[in-house]
């Protein structure tokens, strides 16, 4: 489950309440609207009312403006705030004059544009009881040449924000990628209307009178490659007057974070957000010849409206004229043909683009634009031409001019299809009990066409819902509009049995290994599955199939062949923080190749410094010695015992891979081949290479390698056989070669008399005075357990003789006199 949101996938859409109400006839409060939006899947991420910050600012009139006695550029104003005594305010604005109606901030008000809370001040010895503000001081614009100059009939004493229409909350919603229709305010209004929060206003565009054909032609030229542009509509509007757009339009764009440019550009942005229909304008005077829509050619460059130059290739769709590239199709227009205040003839474009290609191009060029955001989700094909009409209408209304007929290259694709929809699907998938008329009502209000009257109807999704594929999508529409809250929580059947074992052998083993190691004082770590190449190679890893193509850093480039490097590095990090003696373990996956079978589970651990099981460091009861191979072997054997390995059948081999100390390491095997564990002190050369302070004792237990226990017919442990007779113990010491493995001697002793010998333990190892050079003395304690009757001295002597003979034969040693 991708339950984390991806920035590119879920981006936000902003609009104001008044804008929404252009499309939705509703009495609902802001809170109701916000709550409903979230519940129907248009998650509100924020509501911001700019009027909140402007609360302290009121409209005031300057009654008198006198020169400041001590400063040429300052004036001393007498201001009528609409209540109480007139205020004396020192002001430096050149446009401050008697009769001006402006915006007043009084002491105590926070002025956002200068990040200051006002107090009564003294400016050049004249007291000032407030401030007349500029637009920049209120963060309304960058305007700071003078203070705000309102019409003289502006109501003195009233809230400036309310008067200026700034009391218009901005709502920001997180849009999932399946909802291109809600990249326009109209689509959001439709959802709210369907959910019962008012009535959708259709907002038809008044018809446009055109005059003549468009003189610029459009050609789609994709040769024999797939077309990236299903349709491209274009129209010329002659004789426009371009300049700043009207205040209401600027206000809406500013509110949602867009910078007003000029009327023509603002109109395209407005329609983009109003209907999710991006438009583009070209200054016709700067376009040479006809427009060609085609793939880019390797190395072609285009200077985009963001003043950056982009190099394209044949995966990028472009719009070109005889001068070259003019636009990155569907993503960003070009600077060369941009509209400014000198534009008199404008070409208006409304096109459809290949959504996949737009997403790819946007990502490749690193451009996030409002047009890309919509085209990559899928723009309503049926609004391609109405969108052109809407844009034209606005141009005529705001800039005047005469439109030509439009030219259409390509064709509007037919997106219609129907879904056979049994009403029972709603109940089957959602658990929601709704009547057919209720279901039909919801779908119809969302713009779906529903035909038929039986239990199964035909449903055609509207052109603005490219995400709808089948029945489950329709259930989702019904469910989200009706309300997920209506679905009753329904207990899952629990079956008729007591719960059974659910874990696999591997899972049980890992659990047991984990608790067994923690009981031995090791702390469980979770380290990265990827390590550096150097670490991987030091542990026989580094295979090319396990190398990431795009690692996040060179420390995390290769899938780990062993848990030891990560643990050793972790131990060193602790040492660098002042904790040199640590015992850590991890139970996790290691990788031999990139197949599922190449991934194995390992329980591994390390003890560093003096971190032996009974505790590290100095202590009054005795200081801990440095860790050795035996600490590691003890951990490995404890894990094997805990996970049910046949411990009595394990054999210790003094062989281990290169990362271990060759003389202080070994393997625990079942038979000569099956390695269940490795243990030892890490090789000093390796520690030096990886910059780790030793000593480090490490073990690796291959939990999956332990054979599955045979299924038992019964849980019975069998009868306990214990003897009433006292066991007899005898000690023996043998002089053997120094290189002899103790295991060999013990095995020989154990095998000397299987009936009687219950246990053999090694209790002393000695070399030095009294033992010849190259030899050592091994002392063992043999326990004899009589079965039927007490042993006679003769019987004990006979067994002893057999033990001595067996050991001497197997080891070449001699009984120590």
């Amino acid at each position: 489950m991708l339950n984390e949101t991806n920035d590119e996938e879920t981006a936000t859409m902003k609009f104001t309440l008044s804008w929404l109400k252009d499309h939705l006839d509703t009495d609902a409060s802001l809170d109701e609207i916000v709550e409903k939006l979230t519940l129907i899947g248009l998650e509100v991420e924020g509501v911001h009312n700019p009027a909140e910050a402007l609360k302290p600012f009121t409209i005031a009139r300057v009654v008198a403006a006198r020169p400041h006695p001590n400063a040429d550029r300052l004036k001393v104003l007498t201001v009528d705030s609409g209540s109480g005594e007139p205020l004396q305010i020192v002001c430096g604005a050149p446009n401050a004059r008697e009769g001006l109606v402006g915006v007043l901030a009084r002491p105590g008000a926070y002025v956002p544009g200068i990040d200051l809370t006002l107090s009564i001040g003294k400016i050049r010895d004249v007291e000032s009881f407030g401030m007349m503000c500029s637009e920049r001081e209120l963060e309304l614009s960058d305007e700071h040449t003078g203070i705000i100059d309102l019409p003289s009939d502006a109501p003195v004493g009233q809230s400036f924000a309310a008067y200026a229409g700034l009391d218009d909350p901005v709502i920001e919603i997180g849009l999932t990628p399946n909802r291109p229709d809600c990249t326009g305010v109209h689509g959001i209004a439709r959802d709210l209307a369907a959910a019962g929060l008012g009535k959708l206003k259709e907002g038809r565009v008044a018809p446009i009178e055109t005059s003549g054909a468009c003189p610029v032609d459009v050609r789609l030229d994709f040769g024999d490659t797939p077309s990236l542009c299903p349709a491209f509509a274009l129209r010329l509007v002659r004789g426009v007057k371009n300049g700043p757009s009207p205040k209401w339009l600027q206000k809406r764009l500013t509110a949602i974070g867009l910078r007003p440019i000029n009327a023509l550009v603002d109109i395209t942005n407005y329609v983009t957000f109003d209907r999710g229909r991006p438009l583009h304008v070209f200054d016709a005077a700067k376009v040479k010849g006809d427009l060609v829509v085609r793939r880019g050619r390797d190395g072609e460059e285009v200077l985009a409206l963001n003043e950056k130059t982009y190099t394209v290739d044949d995966s990028v769709c472009v719009i070109a004229d005889e001068n070259g590239l003019e636009s990155i199709a569907g993503i960003m227009g070009g600077e060369h043909t941009g509209c400014d205040e000198n534009t008199t003839d404008v070409l208006l474009e409304s096109a459809l683009w290949d959504a996949f290609n737009i997403a790819q191009t946007g990502r490749k060029l690193g451009i996030n634009s409002d047009a890309r955001y919509r085209f990559e989700r899928g723009v309503d094909p049926n609004y391609c031409l109405p969108g052109l009409e809407q844009g034209t209408r606005m141009i005529l209304d705001l800039c005047g001019g005469t439109p030509t007929e439009h030219v259409l290259a390509g064709a509007i694709p037919d997106s219609e299809f129907t879904i056979d929809f049994p009403y029972s699907e709603v109940k089957r998938l959602s658990g929601l009990s709704l009547t057919p008329p209720e279901i039909k009502g919801i779908l119809t209000r969302l713009g779906f066409w529903v035909a038929g009257s039986g239990d199964t109807v035909k449903v055609a999704p509207p052109s603005w819902r490219p995400d709808i594929e089948g029945k489950a999508d329709l259930v989702e529409e019904v469910m989200r509009i009706a309300g997920v809250d209506l679905i009753p929580s329904t207990p899952l059947s629990r079956g008729t049995h007591v719960g059974q074992k659910v874990l696999t052998t591997g899972q049980i083993r890992r659990n047991h290994a984990r608790r067994a190691l923690a009981v031995r004082g090791l702390k469980e770590a979770v380290t990265w599955s990827f390590i550096s190449r150097e670490q991987a190679e030091a542990f026989d890893g580094g295979a090319s199939v396990l190398k990431l193509a795009n690692p996040i850093s060179s420390d995390m480039s290769d899938m780990r062949p062993s848990l030891i490097p990560g643990l050793a590095a972790a131990a060193q990090r602790n040492a660098d923080r002042g904790y040199a003696d640590v015992a850590l373990f991890e139970i996790g996956q290691v990788f031999a190749d990139d197949t599922p079978e190449g991934q194995a589970m390992v329980a591994a651990g390390i003890r560093k410094g003096t971190a032996i099981m009974s505790g590290a460091g100095r202590h009054w009861s005795g200081n801990a010695p440095e860790v050795t191979v035996f600490d590691a072997r003890a951990d490995a054997e404890a894990v094997l015992a805990a996970i049910g390995a046949p411990v009595d059948k394990l054999m210790v081999f003094a062989e281990a891979p290169s990362w271990y100390h060759p003389g202080r390491s070994g393997e625990l095997r079942l038979g000569p081949k099956t390695v269940l564990a490795r243990f030892g002190e890490l090789h000093p050369g390796l520690l030096e290479k990886l910059d780790i302070d030793g000593p480090v004792a490490a073990f690796e237990v291959f939990v999956d390698a332990v054979p599955e226990a045979k299924a038992k017919a019964s849980r019975s442990k069998g009868a306990l056989q214990i003897s009433e007779l006292m066991p007899v113990r005898r000690d023996f010491a043998f002089i053997v070669d120094a290189g002899l493995s103790a295991e060999k001697l013990l095995k020989a002793a154990r095998g000397a008399e299987k009936q009687l010998i219950a246990d053999v333990s090694l209790f002393d190892v000695y070399a030095g005075k009294g033992v010849p050079d190259g030899k050592k003395s091994l002392a063992i304690d043999v326990t004899l357990q009589p079965r039927q009757k007490t042993l006679t001295d003769e019987e004990i002597d006979a067994v002893s003789a057999r033990i001595v003979a067996a050991v001497e034969k197997a080891t070449g040693g001699t009984l120590r006199g």
Binding site: S489, S529, A549
Partner: protein, 360 residues
């Protein structure tokens, strides 16, 4: 004073004066030994006349008995004193600190503990634990899960890839545990109830993201399970996991490629203190995504979506661990700082169970 009386008082004085068992033994030998003073007196009895013996016999034997008693009494006193002295000499400072026992020193990582908690809860509802490989194919991680070609998650920007093979196939590190849904549905027959905990990977590294993290996913496939059941499971899970009596939950319609309908789930919480408290308060916190398994996904697993249905949900294990146990920083999960492990880790014998409580 008679001779006997003098002897008795001398011996009794010597007994009292003996400070050690050895000195006392000397006194005993001097009095009662073969040639002891009392023994010598006893020997004189044989030479006496019967009349004398009648008088002296009881007197000397009485003396012997009294001396013997006095020796015994004195011996007990000396023995007690010697023991007391030895015990006093054996005295140690019992306040000296001991080493921490290994079982107290060891720790279970919060991720493991939380997986055990999840296992306890879901095993009770009849769920098994499914697992799958970390290195996945594009098919299992994306295609079979109904990710469209060109989905941003399929880019190198988001997903760790390995180099392409000769046949063009490109292995990747799974970005979610959902491929195991596919592996489960294609390897066993419904009814299916599994949870899928595991490591997942995305190219992300900042304050709140790590390139490796843990997810748990749930999957139910049968012929009847719907969103009502999903709501019940998640409500029961949240109460059990966060160990609170009530959890306010909000299901918001959302979008994922592999579920339809899809929802995101918020839990009620209180953010007014230093830590987020789940279950109370007026704030919401998004904790998981869920939905009915998309018909295309069911179909991709060889099942008929008109016959089989079910749901899936997924959430971050690290994240719910952080919420429950008040751990502020995700990155610390993978740093193995022993101070962090000591503080946030769990004792080895604290095994989460429903009968004994998930945590203490």
């Amino acid at each position: 004073m008679s001779e006997l009386e003098t002897l008795e008082s001398d011996i009794l004085a010597a007994i009292s004066a003996a400070d050690t068992e050895a000195q006392l033994e000397e006194v005993r030998v001097a009095a009662l030994g073969k040639k002891g003073s009392v023994s010598e007196k006893l020997k004189t009895l044989g030479r006496m006349s019967p009349e004398e013996r009648q008088v002296m016999g009881p007197a000397i034997n009485g003396l012997k008995a009294r001396i013997t008693d006095a020796l015994g009494t004195r011996k007990d006193v000396l023995k007690d004193a010697a023991l007391s002295a030895r015990l006093e000499a054996d005295r140690v400072d019992v306040t000296m600190p001991l080493r921490r026992p290994p079982a107290e020193e060891g720790r279970i990582h919060p991720v493991s503990q939380v997986i055990d908690e999840l296992t306890a809860i879901f095993a009770d509802m009849g769920f098994a634990i499914a697992e799958g490989p970390d290195i996945e194919t594009d098919h299992f991680n994306f295609t079979a899960l109904n990710f469209p070609v060109g989905h941003p998650a399929r880019e190198m920007h988001d997903t760790f890839f390995f180099d392409p093979k000769e046949n063009g196939e490109r292995m990747l590190l799974r970005t979610h545990t959902s491929p195991v849904q596919i592996r489960t549905m294609t390897s066993q027959q419904p009814p299916i109830r599994v949870i899928i905990p595991g490591r997942t990977y995305r190219c992300d590294s900042d304050q709140t993201h790590t390139p490796m993290f843990h997810q748990v996913e749930g999957l139910v496939i049968d012929k009847e399970s719907h969103i009502g059941h999903l709501k019940w499971i998640l409500e029961e899970f949240c109460k059990a996991f966060f160990e609170v009596d009530n959890v306010k939950m909000r299901f918001r319609p959302s979008f994922f490629p592999f579920t339809e309908p899809s929802m995101e789930v918020d839990v009620g919480c209180d953010r007014s203190g230093d830590e987020i408290r789940i279950g109370e308060g007026n704030d919401w916190l998004e904790i998981l995504g869920c939905g009915m398994v998309h018909p295309n996904v069911i179909r991709n697993c060889g099942l008929d979506p008109d016959e089989y249905q079910g749901f899936a949900w997924g959430m971050g294990i690290d994240r719910i661990a952080m919420l429950k146990y008040g751990m502020p920083d995700l990155r610390a999960f993978f740093d193995a700082d022993v101070r962090w492990l000591d503080h946030y880790g769990f004792r080895p014998l604290d095994m989460p169970t429903l009968f004994g409580g998930l945590s203490r």
